[in-house]
Each structure stands twice: as C-alpha cells, then as structure tokens.
Symmetry: C2
Subunit: 190 residues, 2 copies
C-alpha cells in the first residue's frame, strides 16, 4: 500500500468507527487495531486524533461551505433559507452517517474549533435557516433543522433510497421553517 | 460521604462527562479522576460503564415511559402525536443536555439494547409521532422531531429560559409534523 492509499484507508476506517462509536469514543489505538497497523504507522499520517477528524470532515465542510456561499447570494430571506435547507439535505443524503458526527457529536464541536474557519461556517448556516423568522423562535427552528436532518438521515432512515430520503428531508425542513417550495424548480438530488 | 451520596455524586459527574464528551468518550477512569475516587470505589457501585449509563438515563426513560403511555391512550392519531411531542418537549427542557445523550449519541443505542424494555419504548415514541402521516414521509418527520428537539434543547439554545424554549420547541415540532395546537389548552410547562 502506498502512502496515498494508506491515508485513504485510514480515513475510511475512521469514518466507520466515528459514526459507530462517536469521535470521543474512538482512539487511534482502535483505528490501528481495526486496520492492522501499528500506531507508529498512523502517526506518520496523522499526529493526533483531531487531525484525523479534520481530514474525515474536510470534504463535508467544503461541501457545506459551497452551500452556505450559494445560499447567502440569494435575494430574500426565504430563498436563502430554502437554498440552505435543500443544499443541507443533499449533503446529508450523500453523507448519511457522517453528518451526525458533524451535527450531534458533542466532542466534535470542540475539536472543530481548532480550524478557525469552521465554527463561523456553522453559525452562518444557522443564521441562514433562522432569518426567515428573526428572534429566538426562528433560532430554535433552525437548530431543529440542523440537528433533526442529521438525525433523520442516519440509521432511522436506513431503509429509504437517496431520492426518497432527500424529498422527505426537504419537505420536513420546509414545514419546520415555514418556507414554501419555490415555483418552477424540480426537486431533484443535485 | 455515605453510599447513597456517593452513588448520587457518581451519577452527577457521569451526566456532566457524558454530555460533554459523549458516552463512548467517557471512561470510568475519567469519572474516577474527576471525582477524586479510585476505580475500585466506583466498582463498588457500578460494575461497568454501561451500568452507570443506565442509572444516568433511568429517570429520563421512566419519564418518557409515562409520556408514551399517556399519548397512546388518546383517541386520534393527531392527539396522540401532539401529546407525545408536548411531553417530549417538557422532558427535553428539563433535561437539556442529557436528552442529546439519549437521542444522538451513537454508542448509547447499543448500550440501551441491554435493557429489553427501552428499545421498544423509543420505537413506540417514533410511531406516535409518525402515525399522523402513515408511510415513509411520516417516519422521516418523526425522526426529525426526535433528533431535532434533542439538538435544539442543547447548547444552541443555552440563552433561552425554560418556558420560552418549551413553547418554541412545541411550535417547531407541530410545524414539522403538521399538527395543530388543540383548543382550550394552555401551553405551560408541565
């Protein structure tokens, strides 16, 4: 296995263990045992468990960055919220297990704070969802959508196909926020 | 400290560590270090970390049992769902940090399976929320409410008072499920 393959394999095993045991419940030793490496071989790629978490979440957060940027460019609070929630639904469907690590694992927020650009990104996502109804009620609805979509995309919806799950997540999110579907737009997995 | 006090103090420290680090991220050693006990002293009360988790979640699950029983006794699917969601909102407000351990920590579901009465209890809760809209869309909305209320009751709503949070959670949950507030009923924290 060359270095690139090893790194990819490490990330793959880490995703599996983080989603099953939570980030805090997964040690580098467990990852080493699972993959059949020594801890020294892992240290060659990742000095700490936090670095491995960042590598695992990086593609997800880059995708979220694109969704947030696109949503912020829309004209009205309603279309910003709808763009944010449909984009987040797509991201959740493509990362069914991992989105829960991002949105619900209490130890992840602390580890993410190491990357100065990511904590504000989540805050921007929440604002986009909350601003349809300025004030505390809107913030609670935004938190419901953020945590709820992540939870609903997880094991509870294991039996649903991607397109179906995507449609139902968007419908549930729109109901929660009180946002209507825009006209002349197909609901499809982007 | 007598045995009852010690047990209560252990549960208190465990709640704090489980909510901050997740269940999987908390070892009996960490609890021992935090409380200044030896692991042997902890073993006198709890043989395993799973036993301690069950002791921590027991009051919450007993409360949930009462809510589920009360909701199941209602006549219509709508009033069953509304009773379930208002009761769950009250429980979430009273257990702001802990409800996330129940609803979002991936390692907790596995540990709960040891208690044969609790996995079906969560399934009954989800059915009560889902049956307003039979089929997969209703199941996704129920999962949104189950995970979303737990998430929205957590750190994201730290600034809100109990009554306010309770009102907003119920409103968001009703919107998600498409359930109207029953007439002649005061919204109050039960």
């Amino acid at each position: 296995m060359d270095a690139t393959d090893t790194r990819a394999r490490l990330i793959e095993v880490a995703v599996d263990l983080f989603t099953r045991n939570s980030f805090a419940g997964t040690s580098l030793q467990m990852i080493a045992d699972d993959i059949g490496f020594t801890k020294a071989a892992i240290y060659h790629h990742f000095r700490t468990r936090e670095q491995l978490l960042l590598a695992v979440l990086e593609p997800l957060l880059e995708e979220l960055q694109t969704v947030v940027d696109t949503a912020e460019a829309k004209r009205s609070a309603h279309s910003r919220a709808d763009e944010m929630l449909t984009g987040y639904a797509s991201l959740a469907v493509r990362n069914r297990a991992l989105v829960g690590v991002l949105a619900a694992d209490p130890s992840v927020a602390a580890a993410l704070a190491e990357r100065a650009d990511w904590t504000p990104l989540i805050a921007r996502q929440l604002s986009l969802l909350a601003d349809v109804d300025p004030g505390p009620a809107g913030k609670v609805k935004a938190a419901m959508v953020f945590a709820g979509m992540a939870g609903a995309a997880g094991p509870l919806s294991a039996g649903l196909g991607d397109d179906e799950l995507h449609t139902y997540l968007i419908d549930a999110g729109r109901r929660t926020l009180g946002v209507r579907a825009p006209r002349r737009r197909e609901r499809q997995l982007r």
